[in-house]
Amino acid sequence: MKAYLALEDGLVFEGEGFGAVGETAGEVVFNTSLIGYQEILTDPSYKGQLVTMTYPHIGNYGINQADEESAKPHVSGFIIKELSPIVSNWRSEKTLDVYLKEHRIVGIQGIDTRKLVKHLRDAGAKKGIISTQAGDPKKLVQKAKDSEDIVGVDMVKRVTCAKPYEFKESIPAEFDWPIGNRLKICNEKSQGKRLSVVCIDGGIKFNILRKLNQHGFQVKVVPASTSAQDILAAKPDGIFLSNGPGDPEAVPYLIETVRQLIGQKPIFGICLGHQILGLALGAKSFKLKFGHRGGNHPVMDLKTKRIEITSQNHGFAIDEKTLPEGEVEATHINLNDKTLEGLKHKKHPVFSVQYHPENSPGPHDSDYLFYRFRAMVEKGTWS
């Protein structure tokens, strides 16, 4: 089945469709992770995006329930070099192709993904359209132009939960290192006592919730529109600001909520949560040329000078220069482009990182942030 990928600036690729049949538009981005396609597909932060995998062989190990990052895939479309004809893994439950069909996600394979990536790198992220319907590529380009722009759009409301829920799942012991050990240590440390955390869901990944659970929290997830009042009414020990899709400035209500929460409770934010926190503290955000998406970005902890290899997925960032002086300090930077990767409030127990310490997919180097959050919540203050 022939398929096209057309970008708003006129670049067109002809390939072969897989997954669902149809037409789908979105912002075309790329991810350089070699593996982890299932986690990427189900990460709500990819809402509204057509995701390109730079590694050519995709689908090799299939799909399994345990690796889901949310209830369903959120990408608008999937772009790869070559779909594996079979799956080979003892945990696999179905093929990627079947999975995408089930969730009506359109995919395209067999195109020069490297050419696409280099184009996005040089020209910046572009709107695009994948179509498996025969038609004039020129028209597709026009459709891509006409499609929704991600800037200024509240994507969060499209992925946040409808109503609050409790989350009880943890990291499967077999994938913890040393196997099952970390959980044991955590449980011993907290002597079984669970602290409560409210997670404001901007499009949260399950692994954040699993991690919080593993680190001894009782986890409650609330919709992004929940007011500060309602959140505080639940008397949580700590508050977590989740990752999520799109432009942070397009979610003013969430920024406002966070502004009200700062100083009330210990707060930890990841990705969109970091941007929202930054905005709430008075900093500015901007759109990166083509974003950070992958599992190999070096981030330096400015205090310890240690480097973490991080999992990343963001198209917007907080401008370090706009952090309110004296009040907020930069804690982490990205060594590739020196952009801000983490901040903390000097007075209040509030911190956030732009990258994904919950990994999934990606390295486990940044797990210490969950320990830090746990310790902070236990004390209720920084010191």
Partner: protein, 1106 residues
């Protein structure tokens, strides 16, 4: 942390000669380390016995010792140089072992030298299996069940507990020497005995078999701040049971999910941290049970390795270069990524292509060797291929392997049960027939169940025969993902066959898809009954040509500045050819016996030279171990197979003004005619001159013209004809096939019975070409001469006299420079003669001539109008970079202007000794013959012949004992000549051991010896004395050869037990000279730069900086 300033001078230990398990990858890593440390301002002292390396070029390190890598030498160097630190992690197992030994002997303490890169304790913990196991258990790592044994009995008891099959792994060995899988007690007895002996610690691990599990490797780095990165993950296509060096391996890993992979990453991090490698690179190997995901750790190497070289080439991340910087205290974030310039080295490379490494074997060289692959490494080289998909990379890899394959079968070279399937018709018939051929299916089942170099092709035959994928998997345990990729290739093949036999009817789409699947034009031609040229023409007509993509460490995320390319059939081309004057240098492909690091040395020299002259240099090669495939070496690197198709594609893209074929060995030379015919400008000696040297008739005419003798020679196509010709020439004769490498199937035949025994092999190896029958000049002196010419001036670089008499392949012979027994007149005659040949062939570049001298008469045996194996050796010996000059003259420069127009005779003696892989092939006869068997070489350099020879033996792991018992057994012809040797040995204080016959003969001549039983005479016999290491030296000149002979068993056993075994009387004489020179006063060491200064002092010659 910035680099350490308390260190000024650092000693780097090289890896010595190329052996199985330790090849050019350590020249690559060592060269990188030298460059990297000097870049940071450190003074670098280097020791390496291997002259064929780039790292031992005088300008690679401040002070270079081409000396044996032993503790004794290390101490001499340290005493002389007083370095602050020693970096032992760049020289493979050799480097680590010698450092451990030196540490334990207190050498480093005595001179206050710090071990950097890996501390003694870390090395011990990683290398000692018991300590390793304890360390891993401590951090909660799962391991195969196992126990240590210190005797055969203990091994047997352990195996009873664990259950067969078990794996035997000796502690502290090279490339897994002595390890193996044992299915029953008898096997275990044999293997554990051998293993105990190989182990420096006399210790073997008996381990639960995890045969058939998935095997993975992670290449990791860690710095002093505990920053940790994984450079590359590798998945083995061959499951557990085959040594990773012998496995087809794929990067990145293909079949683990993120959860499973990250767990492995965590485990690797925990491992390197626990072992305590604080600064540098390591590799960690894991096995995963495909049924349930159970992951166990197999081993870790606290140093750079073959896999780290592969990982560097696969990702563009130079592990050794950065490991050296980490060793001096720098951290990963302080080192910029060379390729992206603006991002730091503290990241994990992402790649957007697939890499396949395929090992290259040389079983045909060793009579009686079983070619099954086990946990003991046997391959002699490897090739790597990059493609956008596994399918493309696999097929490219196979055609880069230099085994006459042009892809994954369907190339006229398929062999089923030994039967060649040479034509499309035969292929179609076979395809049909195999479906219902029960016996064929049985053969397939057994071939895919047992790993061997053939298995990959039998996996394909299994698919073609209709075996189910599940059955193929159950038998081979090759992961289904790989199998399905192969099946896709088979399906593409079917499509091509169905497309018919009219090239113009084959759709453009199908052709393009076939190319994307990695099919070569030759394969396509085979499948549609056309020719390579026609397929190529049609393809170009349709606009189907490869594009070149960058290896950039970051999957395109950042702009890359280092031009390292691979071809693929995709849309966008990134080659961006410049409009500079460009020269393409064709490398040598995978290492094999007969073509190795020497040629890589020449190619790299050429690239350096031409860069200096302002040319853009373009390297083409497919060997991941080499310096030539370091993206730092040339202006542009194309990591591609060396076939006509692939080279032409690059040429058409780059339009170089010249292509150099004479430096990469036989591989590029064989392409020269086809390339020239396609309009490629070959620089240097013309293709016509190459032909004049290779074509028998033309060569004869050439020698006649300059009045040079040649041993009488004839050709024949059949056994009958050969027999007639042999009778005409008269015994002894040298029988050899034409157009083969390294003296393949070459034999000296003394009588009819030998003739009938060997002629079959020669006819078979020749194929359609004739067998050559030459008069063999018995007891002649053999000479190698290397010359450089610019078409006007011709200069002999070196005259090398073989130490052994004629009849031993020049690649295997020990040689001395300058000659030790020739008169001045003879040397002059050889010089003049060689120049006459060169003038006649109008040599522009290098030439090697082999002569035999008998009764003061010169016979020309062979002329090779290309760089020879001895070029690096000669260059180091005389202090003149011959290959560099060769590249310069090929581009039109003149020797006179380059300052080399006169022969140099060094005022010291240099010996080249060969190193053999016999220890990996127990039971194989070690006798030297016209068929080359060595894998590497060493250089011994000293004031006098004896010392140089002694050093060369020490360097080649054949230590001459300075006292003890010598077992003598010589053939009847040699008996009288052996008397002088025996007498001298006794005078020198050795005691002799001999079998009854020899002892009696010695007694008659007044020499006492201890009588020992022959093997056939019962026990205790000579083999017991060898096993007990009572005998320190064996002098045995063979009466015959072959693994079944008693004497061969003795020789093979000697190798297994590390006892020096001399097999020619000339070598025995040299050995005595060595003993005489070193017995009393030992020897001293000196840098190669100091030696070269002596030449300059002597000749006043212009200094050549490498």
């Amino acid at each position: 942390m910035p680099k350490r300033t308390d260190l000024k001078k650092i000693l780097i230990v090289g890896s010595g000669p190329i052996i199985i398990g330790q090849a050019c990858e350590f020249d690559y890593s060592g060269t990188q380390a030298c460059k990297s440390l000097r870049e940071e301002g450190y003074e670098v002292v280097l020791v390496n016995s291997n002259p064929a390396t780039i790292m031992t070029d005088p300008n690679m390190a401040d002070r270079i010792y081409i000396e044996p890598i032993t503790v004794e030498v290390l101490e001499k160097i340290i005493e002389r140089e007083r370095p602050d630190a020693c970096l032992p992690t760049m020289g493979g197992q050799t480097g680590l072992n010698v450092a451990v030994e030196a540490f334990e002997k207190g050498v480093f303490d005595k001179y206050n030298v710090e071990l950097i890169g890996a501390k003694y304790e870390a090395i011990k913990k990683a290398e000692n299996r018991k300590l390793f196991k304890e360390a891993m258990q401590k951090i909660g790592m799962d391991l195969p069940r196992s126990g240590f044994a210190y005797s055969v009995e203990e091994a047997l008891a352990l195996a009873d507990e664990i259950g067969y099959p078990v794996i035997v792994r000796p502690s502290y060995t090279l490339g897994g020497s002595g390890s193996g899988v044992c299915y029953h007690r008898e096997e275990l007895e044999k293997t554990s005995r051998l293993g105990l002996d190989y182990s420096l610690a006399h210790e073997v691990l008996i381990e639960e078999s995890i045969l058939g599990w998935k095997e993975f490797e992670l290449e990791v780095m860690r710095d002093a701040k505990n920053n940790f990165v994984v450079i590359c993950s590798i998945e083995n296509l061959d499951p557990m049971g085959v040594h990773t060096g012998d496995s087809i391996t794929v990067a990145p890993q293909q079949t683990l999910t993120d959860k499973e992979y990250q767990r492995m990453r965590d485990a690797a991090r925990a491992c390197i941290t626990e072992i305590g490698v604080e600064t540098g690179g390591s590799n960690v190997q894991f096995a995963v049970n495909p049924e349930n995901g159970r992951m166990v750790i197999i081993e870790m190497n606290p140093r750079v390795s073959r896999s780290s070289a592969l990982a560097s080439k696969a990702t563009g991340f130079p592990i050794a270069k950065f490991a050296a910087k980490l060793a001096v205290g720098m951290t990963l974030d302080e080192i910029p990524n060379d390729i992206t310039k603006y991002t730091p080295a503290s990241f994990e490379p992402s790649i957007d292509y697939c890499v396949v490494k395929i090992p290259r074997f040389a079983f045909e060289k060793f009579e009686g060797v079983n070619d099954h692959l086990t946990s003991q490494m046997k391959s002699v080289g490897e090739t790597m291929a990059i493609g956008r998909t596994f399918k493309e990379a696999l097929q490219k890899g196979l055609r880069g392997l230099e085994i006459k394959r042009t892809g994954f079968g369907a190339d006229g070279q398929d062999r089923f049960g030994g039967e060649q399937i040479a034509t499309r018709e035969a292929y179609l018939v076979w395809r049909e027939g195999i479906q219902k051929d029960a016996a064929g299916h049985e053969l397939i089942r057994s071939e895919i169940a047992t790993p061997s170099p053939r298995r990959l092709f039998y996996l394909k035959y299994a698919m073609m025969a209709g075996l189910s994928l599940d059955e193929i998997y159950q038998l081979s345990k090759v992961d289904p993902w790989f199998l399905v990729q192969m099946q896709q290739i088979v399906q593409m093949e079917n499509e091509l066959i169905q497309a018919g036999i009219d090239l113009h009817q084959v759709s453009s789409d199908l052709l393009r898809r076939a190319k994307q699947y990695g099919f070569s034009d030759q394969q396509i031609a085979f499948l549609i009954h056309s020719s390579e040229a026609k397929v190529r023409a049609r393809r170009l007509e349709l606009g189907i040509r490869p594009v070149y993509k960058l290896v950039d460490t970051c999957a395109g995320e950042f702009k890359a500045y280092t031009p390292y390319f691979y071809s693929t059939y995709d849309e966008e081309d990134e080659a961006m050819p410049s409009d500079r004057k460009k020269v393409m240098i064709l490398g040598g492909g995978p290492n094999r016996i007969g073509q190795g690091i020497e040629f890589d040395y020449c190619c790299v020299q050429a690239s350096f030279a031409l860069k200096e002259l302002g040319y853009e240099t373009i390297m083409v090669n497919s060997n991941p171990e080499t310096v030539s495939t370091d993206y730092d070496t040339s202006d542009k690197l194309y990591f591609e197979p060396l076939t006509k198709e692939d080279v032409l594609n690059i040429f058409e893209c780059e339009k170089a003004i010249g292509v150099i074929v004479q430096l990469g060995g036989q591989t590029p030379l064989n392409l020269s005619e086809a390339l020239e015919a396609s309009g490629v400008p070959i620089v240097g000696t013309t293709v016509d001159a190459i032909d004049a040297a290779e074509d028998r008739e033309r060569f004869k005419a050439l020698l006649d013209k300059i009045n040079l003798k040649q041993p009488r020679s004839e050709i024949a196509f059949s056994i009958e004809e050969s027999f007639e010709k042999v009778k005409a020439v008269g015994y002894p004769v040298l029988i050899r096939p034409s157009y083969v490498l390294g003296g393949r199937a070459m034999e000296i035949v003394y009588d009819d019975s030998q003739f009938h025994k060997y002629i079959g092999h020669a006819i078979e190896a020749s194929g359609e070409n004739p067998v050559l029958i030459d008069k063999f000049l018995e007891e002649a002196i053999e000479i190698d001469v290397d010359l450089i010419g610019d078409g006007e001036t011709f200069v002999v670089g070196g005259i090398l006299e073989h130490i052994e008499e004629a009849g031993i392949h020049s690649g295997d012979a020990a040689m001395a420079l300058p000659p030790f027994s020739l008169s001045q007149k003879m040397i002059q005659a050889l010089t003049d003669t060689t120049k006459r040949i060169a003038r006649e062939l109008n040599i522009v570049g290098l030439m090697n001539v082999q002569y035999a001298i008998k009764n003061n008469e010169i016979y020309c045996l062979e002329v090779n109008p290309r760089a020879s194996r001895t070029v690096p050796f000669v260059s180091k010996a005389i202090g003149i970079p011959m290959a560099k000059l060769a590249a310069e003259v090929m581009l039109g420069h003149k020797l006179k202007e380059l300052g080399f127009s006169k022969e140099i005779v060094p005022p010291y003696c240099v010996i080249k000794e060969s190193v053999f892989p016999f220890v990996k092939f127990p039971g194989v006869d070690i006798i030297l013959s016209p068929e080359m068997k060595s894998t590497g070489e060493v250089m011994g350099i000293a004031r006098d012949f004896g010392t140089a020879y002694y050093k060369s033996q020490q360097a080649s792991y054949s230590q001459i004992p300075l006292s003890g018992k010598v077992f003598m057994s010589v053939k009847d012809n040699d008996k009288s000549k052996s008397i002088g040797i025996a007498k001298r040995l006794v005078e020198l204080g050795y005691s002799l051991v001999a079998t009854a016959g020899t002892a009696k003969y010695l007694k008659e001549k007044g020499i006492e010896s201890e009588v020992v039983k022959k093997i056939v005479d019962g026990r205790p016999n000579v083999t017991d004395k060898i096993r007990n290491k009572e005998i320190k030296l064996i002098i045995n000149t063979p009466t015959g050869k072959g693994p079944k002979l008693d004497e061969a068993k003795i020789r093979s056993l000697a190798v297994s037990f590390g006892i020096s075994c001399v097999t020619t009387l000339n070598a025995a004489k040299a050995t005595i000279q060595g003993i005489e020179a070193c017995r009393e006063k030992g020897f001293s060491v000196q840098t190669i730069q100091e030696y070269h200064a002596e030449i300059q002092a002597q000749t006043g010659a212009k200094a050549h900086a490498g």
